[in-house]
Symmetry: C2
Subunit: 144 residues, 2 copies
DNA sequence: ATGACATATATGTCATGACATTTATTTGTT
DNA sequence: AACAAATAAATGTCATGACATATATGTCAT
């Protein structure tokens, strides 16, 4: 089997290409695709713990802690104490974070249109289903 | 959640899940999935430059340099001087590298069977085609 | 032949992912 | 209440990816 044919490498290389494209498009705003994914989740609902945020973005808690620290240093989010649990903090979007989201949303949309050029809606749906199935297979094995 | 957001999320998370699974399976042999991808490429043809190897694995030259250094320290590959160009070196598989490949090949195969459980051949083919199309779209944009 | 430019590799930096460990706090058991 | 176990977050380490730059060597125009 040639490497090009190996599904794992196809998936990872495609993901990296998409990430690179988004990174390039976001570069003038000093926001990386991973930071973007966190901002977008917070837009759907903030004042949540690092742990909850980690679950929602599908990332390791340690990594979310570090990405959040970066976003906080940039003034896009803030961590405030959780009055119900002194171990945890609640992550909130700052106004500047909300402004950045408004700026970057159309750019994100343009990038995705480029990436999905020539791909039909039903193909994308199947693609997502297959990826979800593979993810389930992996996670079942990792936990079992 | 917008559809295209879900797709980027799906691709990167699925790729990470597969990488994690392979990493776990390879852990006893002290070989990472990325190191594995380089070994497999060398198996198809070694005595090639870092630059050529980078092209074949689809990775940055700087990263291939570093991964190669690790593999050389482990005694799996060797860099020998290129008699035709003193700037470059030729990367060769060592016997121990070839042995590791024979050991890990069936493990890699098992992992792929786990990941692809419940997915038909024609679905996998379509999946690869769609991913290739998206990769082309990205690369065309990055270069253009 | 020489100097300007190109190329191959190496190295430095930052962001990230995975994972182990630490620290502070909470919870549960007695 | 006291102590053990669990939990949330932070931190440390290594591998990697992207990118900039450095260094050595090669190539080309003159």
């Amino acid at each position: 089997m040639r490497l090009d044919d190996a599904l794992g490498f196809a998936i990872n290389n495609t993901g990296r290409a998409m990430t690179r494209l988004l990174m390039t498009a976001f570069a003038p705003y000093d926001v990386t695709p991973e930071q973007w994914s966190i901002l977008k989740r917070l837009e759907e609902g903030d004042e949540i713990s690092i742990k909850e945020l980690s679950k929602r973005v599908g990332k390791d808690q340690a990594n979310v802690t570090r990405i959040s620290d970066l976003l906080e240093r940039k003034g896009l989010i803030m961590k405030k104490p959780n009055p119900e649990d002194k171990r945890s903090s609640l992550v909130c979007l700052m106004d500047e974070g909300k402004q950045i989201i408004r700026l970057l949303d159309p750019i994100d949309e343009q990038v995705h249109q480029v990436v999905l050029k020539g791909i039909a809606e039903h193909e994308m749906e199947l693609l997502k289903q297959l990826l979800a199935k593979m993810r389930e297979n992996c996670n079942a094995e990792l936990q079992g």
